[in-house]
Symmetry: C2
Subunit: 329 residues, 2 copies
């Protein structure tokens, strides 16, 4: 990936104060891009102004609500690349408040696509999709041709948003593509609740010397990507013409069980302990079992590969939160 290509490039990052968006914004600013981030700062979703503290002098921050079509129309003006990272990532919340998930994950993306189509049709749009779109895998590793059969409303909304993104490419010629993210971890995740997957909650509780609840044995396999690797994939997609109109899985060459992930984490923190628990009903009903992705397509076409292993990534993550704990707890 040619980092210099981003120097002075006007880019927009939606959800840019959240976990993945802020890591992307920080990296873009380091590469000299002209970065605007927009983030609704909806409580619980993960937006945190501290996330962009290292670059706050270099970037523009808007706290417009992405559900506000006119604000979005203004924000996309003049941006050469729009990284559409905003969204709700809680599967559990999507089942207790499905209409909110629809708004945050599907409606906002459709509204963004409309804004780009009408006001800035030459912009590149890179959408942050999710392996949740696949649902319970019919085979492993899951490749991009695997049917999309989501098991929760979050998966439906992410699939609908991605589908709209690709249709805007085919029908309206938008330069759009999608990355399907697996389990991403690293600095700048929200740490206030456990409803956005187990990773941040495990990290917080391990650092605090508390119990990590392992549901159903923790034997499901996952492929964990450190957020720096995920940011790199976004940078590839923002630049490569061969990415346009395409969907790419991310993934990792070494899937591990959730239990193993937790054990490595505990070794790193030296505090906290595992506790076996049966699956709570609300999680069991939408659990997908083992899932990991085939990322050969993005490796072969764009040259992306994950560089960071779980032990290295978690070590840096724990260090980050020990240092900046007061901004996240």
């Amino acid at each position: 990936m040619n980092g210099q290509a981003y120097a002075h490039k006007p880019v927009l990052v939606t959800g840019g104060l959240g976990f993945i968006g802020s890591n992307l914004a920080v990296r873009l600013a380091e590469l000299g891009a002209d970065v605007t981030v927009v983030d609704s700062l909806i409580p619980e979703l993960g937006g945190n102004r501290f996330n962009v503290a290292p670059v706050e002098e270099q970037i523009q921050v808007s706290t417009a609500d992405l559900r506000d079509g006119e604000a979005v129309a203004r924000l996309v003006q003049g941006r050469e690349i729009v990284f559409a990272v905003a969204g709700n990532v809680s599967h559990v919340d999507s089942m207790t408040d499905p209409l909110r998930d629809l708004e945050l994950n599907y409606r906002t993306q459709l509204s963004l696509l409309e804004a780009v189509r009408k006001g800035n049709p030459d912009a590149r749009v890179v959408y942050a999709g999710s392996r949740q779109q696949y649902g319970r895998p019919q085979y492993l590793p899951v490749d991009e041709r695997h049917p999309l059969e989501p098991v929760d409303v979050n998966g439906i909304d992410k699939a609908a948003a991605e589908s709209a993104t690709l249709i805007y490419h085919r029908v309206h010629g938008l330069h759009a593509c999608s990355l399907r993210l697996t389990n991403t971890y690293g600095p700048r995740m929200q740490m206030r609740h456990g409803r956005q997957g187990f990773v941040p909650w495990f990290v917080r509780r391990a650092i605090d010397g508390q119990e990590l609840e392992l549901f159903g044995g923790g034997e499901s396999l996952r492929d964990f990507n450190e957020v720096g690797d995920v940011v790199e994939a976004f940078l590839f997609c923002g630049q490569a013409d061969s990415a346009v109109g395409e969907v790419f899985n991310l993934g990792h060459p070494e899937p591990i069980t959730i239990r193993r992930f937790a054990e490595i984490l505990l070794e790193i923190t030296g505090s906290g302990y595992l506790a076996e628990r049966p699956f709570p009903a609300d999680r069991a009903s939408i659990d997908v079992g083992s899932v990991y992705a085939d990322y050969a397509k993005i490796r072969d076409r764009l040259g992306w590969e994950p560089r960071v292993g779980v032990r290295e990534g978690l070590t840096a993550m724990v260090e980050y939160y020990r240092c900046h704990r007061r901004h996240y707890w």
Copy 2:
């Protein structure tokens, strides 16, 4: 199908003043059901009070907006079966105003499912899906296992709504199922514009002795179901326990080209004429080519089969509109 099972049965039909909903409501009333219909009467969608004129003394009509969650919650109370037929069926409109399509096709269904889950979880829910969910067929005839890869926002929203319906079955235990309708025709279709498929527009123009525009040769195959047959399928699904949790294609044993359909229509009306036209850009970009469905599943499991052929069905349809023209033109 045991029609007597519907005597005194409290049922709700959403979109019940529209094309399919009103035909269903009329039939249910004839079978002695306790019928409530709700229809937002949003201009252009197809709701028409005249559609239920034959049974207006026997049914309750609400014109609440289905986007109003509280109204929906009241309407589902005490209903044993909810036929969820409301929606926008215009593919073209879904591309010019995608956010409206999201509201009408996906949000309303999610809102209805929430209302049933919270207020009447034992009700049967029968959703009106669409073959548009499949997109451009990868093989023919399309069976229920065919991937859902919609080519327009309408297809995305119908697929999302159906997917939510099935997830409410799996996760919340709702007694829900879905019918994927193909090209339905017959009495009570709106006749004011040509954006809900070519069928009503062709019928109107043929009756009026005008030109029928055949785009791109009209060689695409379609399977046409007369609305009475479609109503029968809804009645099966409202009753059979084996329908719960399932998706069923409708279809017809004799797919014909759009051209042939038009020719038969012109033979029946004795007026109107064909005109060859290239595909307009907005339609070509979302055209799906030939598509017809494999309906073996509903035939084998529920015993449904279409009884009406195109010539017979169109003859009755033309007669209906000649008689009631002033209520539709």
